[in-house]
């Protein structure tokens, strides 16, 4: 077809959906001239992630396409030139800049604008809406001089705007909601209450049931007045009271619109004029405006298909959402509000952890109808799939939100049982079938490949975990052995590499890479191998400083702003007054912030890189040693005061804790290690939450292993009961070495055990009954460790070459990093926020 015969499609509105339409139609056909008119001054950008503009993303970062995309695809783009009139008789549009353009098909993608209620004073300075980059720029400037801010509207967008105010540095931020709960369209009142608590903890002040009567102030906003005769003083206000579809142009052209706004469309998204379509937030389908991007994209697909003579219809869209509001997961899916007699509801609430989960099921308990998740929305994807695909529920539907508690997990099986047409990525309309066939035919084997070939996961990103499970599941089904390799440079698991390194007596990273790897290594395999080498040879890690992880490289934890922390070892938490004084003196001299840690010792924060050797020199002189707070190695062995002072104490828990801490200090392991020794079952040392825990009994000690605090706390399990000290140490030697030898990188003992086939029974067999016949070797390896232990900080300060590495500028070693900034905090200092 020559250019002349090509039909013209004009797209009014260069927002997310207008852009997506262009992308879809050029993928289907090149028989059309595409002409886009946008009112905003810039190319379509990602409005969904608009708030990231405040976190340093630029307008260009948010752009949906590279600058030359339109040109490369022969699309004419007129920016900052809104269409003022549509002439349906002549089939032309008229733009503000005077362009008169004929069309064959017209696509209205004019989106919506923020709805501003008719309250006296809305025109005042300091009142904003939250929709475009320009809105954000105005807010940003104004916020510089504002101290108190509020958002009118506690819906999804309002809460997002409130987060933006916090990000802009407005410490006192209020949310004013007219309804009795937050996010009234997505969540119920129990969920709202929990969310409210969480948001309040984060510094937002929430006011429900408040209706505003006036915006008070002389020219600019000074306060809000409410119907209950109260007032709230303010410097700025963001109105987020809902959206208004932009149907003004359509109305003017005589197209049918809804009484409450929106351009009426049928299931082909045709307006009352069959050559004119409306998509995105301006379209009204069956009395519904779809204020989310995924349904807009689906509409774009349907119109593009119909113009290309394919049959496709829009039958409404699932409005399920999952988002992270100020760090709190909030999700609602399917029919979130069903109550009896239409269905039954199962609720799980944990106000302590801030988790609320609700699922609604059919009366016969067979199907899931919908639900709400707050605080922990990990199950969102699979629950949504269960609703959308009418999957029959398990006999105990509560397992869906509680997790199955029999110890068995279903792994990836849940995902693989979905039907092929299950929609996995709703932003890009990618089904399970499309993902699995890309994996099966060899096109894709990683999430990046899938993103490239199907676009799944490139929108909101919410489906990525599900896509990953599908990739693994499909590969397993196809009989592909999924090897647990550490990274692209080594085709081995950590355990395999450890064996190879040990058998071949390899002592440095480069030799390992030459023998068993390829390429030049990376930030994953370098520290993993560094850790393996340290675990086997117990050599000084600074001999190979550049393969160490950030913290190990300088034997200190890097912190906000680029300073480091200093944690001397205080075994068992016992310290003399003399040593306490030295810590105080050092902290004063180097201007360090001091804090008692959760591990019964003292952390000194805010040390300049170049001060570290001098600080450690003074500490070591006073008898301190490295506390390895930076390493994947033993941290602390917590103790309670035990029989020495405590009236219930059965054994001397402090002495034992010190002995154990001294034995295993410096041991490099796949992840950090923590221990605890309690003097009796009251468990004041919280030993059962540690990687290994010892609890004194009448007869001796109980030894527990594989506990964990952290984000998924887990109690340690009993390995052996009523054993004496020597046996306890023997089992610990074996246990720790077995872990060092066999766990994957960055796997704590709890996770390691969870993944171990046979679990604690198997572990007991290996450690106590020596079922693998390796006990002797494990013990020998531990003895080697104990014998070769050296304080690595002592070694570092004694070696001038190593010491030299602790300069910020190699060409000006005496100068400190001038960008390091502190702010006062109570009577000490803190790092400046980033």
């Amino acid at each position: 077809m020559s250019a002349k015969q090509k039909k013209n499609i004009i797209i009014i509105g260069n927002g997310m959906v207008g852009y997506k339409f262009c992308e879809k139609i050029i993928a289907k056909s090149d028989d059309f001239n595409l002409i886009v008119f946008g009112e905003e001054p810039r190319r379509a950008y990602d409005r969904v992630h608009l708030s990231e503009y405040f976190n340093g993303k630029t307008a260009e970062d948010l752009s949906m396409s590279p600058a030359n995309w339109y040109q490369e695809n022969h699309i004419t783009l007129h920016l900052a030139d809104p269409i003022l009139e549509i002439n349906r008789q002549n089939k032309t549009v008229h733009s503000q800049k005077g362009i008169l353009q004929p069309y064959d098909y017209l696509v209205l993608a004019t989106g919506s604008s923020a709805f501003v209620p008719n309250i006296p004073g809305v025109e005042k300075e300091g009142v904003f809406v939250y929709r475009t980059i320009e809105d954000l720029e105005l807010m940003k400037n104004y916020a510089l001089k504002a101290k108190k801010g509020a958002v009118m509207g506690g819906g999804l967008l309002g809460l997002e705007a409130a987060k933006a105010l916090l990000d802009l540095g407005i410490a006192e931020t209020h949310v004013i909601e007219f309804a009795p709960r937050l996010m009234p369209r997505q969540i119920d009142s129990a969920g709202s209450k929990l969310l409210q608590n969480k948001l309040q903890e984060l510094g937002l002040q929430i006011h429900l049931n408040k209706s505003t009567s006036e915006i008070v102030g002389n020219g600019k906003i000074e306060a809000l007045a409410f119907n209950d005769d109260t007032q709230l003083e303010l410097d700025m206000l963001v109105i987020s009271a809902g959206i208004r579809p932009r149907d003004e142009l359509a109305k003017l052209a005589g197209l049918e619109v809804g009484t409450r706004g929106g351009i009426l469309v049928n299931e082909k998204l045709q307006t009352s004029d069959p050559n004119i379509f409306a998509i995105g937030e301006c379209a009204l389908y069956k009395d519904m405006i779809y204020g989310l991007v995924a349904p807009g994209y689906e509409m774009a697909e349907v119109v593009a298909a119909n113009i290309c003579q394919q049959e496709k219809y829009f039958y409404g869209f699932d409005m399920s959402t999952k988002l992270k509001l100020i760090g709190v997961d909030v999700a609602s899916f399917g029919d979130a509000f069903v109550t009896e007699p239409e269905g039954r509801t199962i609720v799980f609430e944990d106000t302590h952890k801030g988790i609320y989960k609700r699922i609604n099921i059919t009366n016969d308990g067979k199907y899931l109808l919908g639900g709400i998740l707050i605080g922990d929305a990990d199950a969102y994807n699979i629950l949504l799939q269960t609703v959308n695909n009418k999957i029959v529920l398990p006999p105990n539907p509560e397992d869906l939100i509680l997790g199955s508690r029999g110890g068995e997990t279903d792994g990836g099986a849940g995902v693989m049982s979905l039907p092929d047409d299950a929609l996995i990525c709703s932003c890009e309309a990618v089904t399970k079938g499309m993902i699995c066939s890309a994996v099966s035919d060899g096109t894709a084997s990683s999430i990046d490949d899938i993103k490239k070939c199907t676009k799944a996961g490139t929108g909101c990103g919410g489906c990525v975990p599900l896509v990953k499970d599908l990739i693994t599941g499909t590969m397993q089904e196809n009989g592909v052995y999924i090897k647990n390799v550490i990274c692209e440079h080594f085709d081995y698991s950590r355990q395999e590499l450890l064996d190879l390194i040990k058998i071949n007596k390899i002592k440095d990273y480069d030799t390992a890479l030459d023998h068993f790897g390829k390429g030049d290594g990376c930030e994953v395999c370098k520290p993993a191998i560094a850790n393996i080498l340290a675990g086997i040879w117990n050599d000084l890690i600074l001999k190979q400083d550049t393969i160490q992880d950030s913290n190990d490289r300088f034997l200190a934890n890097i912190q906000k702003g680029g300073t480091y922390s200093v944690v001397p070892r205080i075994p068992g938490g016992e310290i003399t007054p003399e040593k306490l004084i030295v810590i105080g003196q050092v902290a004063k001299k180097y201007n360090l912030y001091t804090k008692i840690t959760g591990g019964q010792r003292i952390d000194l924060f805010g040390a300049h890189l170049s001060d570290l050797p001098a600080i450690w020199e003074e500490l070591i002189d006073a008898g301190f040693e490295s506390g390895h707070a930076y390493g994947k190695s033993l941290r602390t062995v917590k103790s309670c005061v035990g029989s020495t002072w405590c009236r219930f104490g059965l054994q001397d828990s402090v002495s034992f804790a010190i002995e154990v801490e001294d034995r295993y200090k410096g041991l490099r392991s796949p992840h950090k290690l923590k221990g605890g020794v309690s003097g009796c079952i009251r468990e004041c040392a919280e030993a059962q939450s540690k990687d290994f825990g010892i609890i004194a009994t009448e007869k001796g000690y109980n030894l527990y292993v594989c506990g964990n605090g952290g984000s998924k706390p887990q109690h340690a399990l009993l390995l052996a009961a009523d054993i004496d000290k020597e046996t306890c140490i023997k089992y610990l030697d074996r246990f720790l070495m077995f872990y060092v030898r066999t766990a994957d990188p960055l796997t704590r003992t709890a996770t390691w055990l969870n993944k171990m086939e046979g679990g604690i029974t198997y572990l007991k067999n290996v450690i106590i009954n020596d079922s693998l016949g390796i006990a002797e070797e494990l013990e020998a390896a531990m003895h080697y460790h104990v014998d070769t232990y050296k304080c690595e900080w002592k070694a570092a300060i004694e070696n001038p070459e190593m010491r030299k590495r602790f300069a910020h500028f190699v060409n000006a070693p005496e100068e400190k990093d001038p960008t390091v900034k502190f702010a006062p905090m109570r009577e000490q200092i803190k790092a400046e926020a980033w």
Binding site: K57, T58, E60, D61, E488, H489, D510, L513, G519, D520, G521, C522, E523, C525, K526, P527, D545, T546, I547, D549, S550, R553, F554, I558, G561, G562, R805, H808, F809, V810, N811, A812, E815, D817, T819, V820, W834
Partner: protein, 127 residues
């Protein structure tokens, strides 16, 4: 890499170039690692990629959270063509040492500087 080598070549042939800045000695920078130098008010990270016999220099500032830290990052390579890269020690965002582009999917990029090595000295070309 070829562009940088070319630039290096240019520097060599122009012999005296006022834009060349003597940064440090080669043994000031650890093998297969980086170090930071100060040029007026600018901090520049220099990387001694011993394994490949290559040198690179970039801005020291990580664009993610504006931390002066890239010189303390780990270097390595990625992909079939072994793109040399550095990982920021803070959150492990990685950047190409050749183009300065962020390789972890963000739209940041860092400035890169041509490096010239002569008689054990490291020179950096500042535009």
């Amino acid at each position: 890499m070829s562009e940088i080598l070319e630039l290096n070549h240019q520097i060599e042939t122009t012999a005296v170039s006022e834009n060349l800045f003597f940064a440090c000695y080669t043994d000031d920078v650890p093998q297969n690692g980086g170090a930071c130098v100060k040029y007026k008010d600018t901090q520049i990270a220099i990387f001694n990629f011993t394994r490949r016999g290559e040198w690179y220099a970039t801005q020291n500032l990580c664009p993610h959270k504006q931390q002066m830290a890239l010189s303390r990052g780990m270097i390595g390579s990625t992909g079939h063509d072994c793109e040399p890269k550095v990982a920021c020690p803070f959150h492990k965002k990685t950047f190409s040492l050749k183009s300065g582009d962020c390789l972890s999917g963000d739209d940041y990029s860092i400035k890169i500087y041509p490096v010239l090595i002569e008689e054990g000295k490291v020179y950096i070309r500042i535009d």
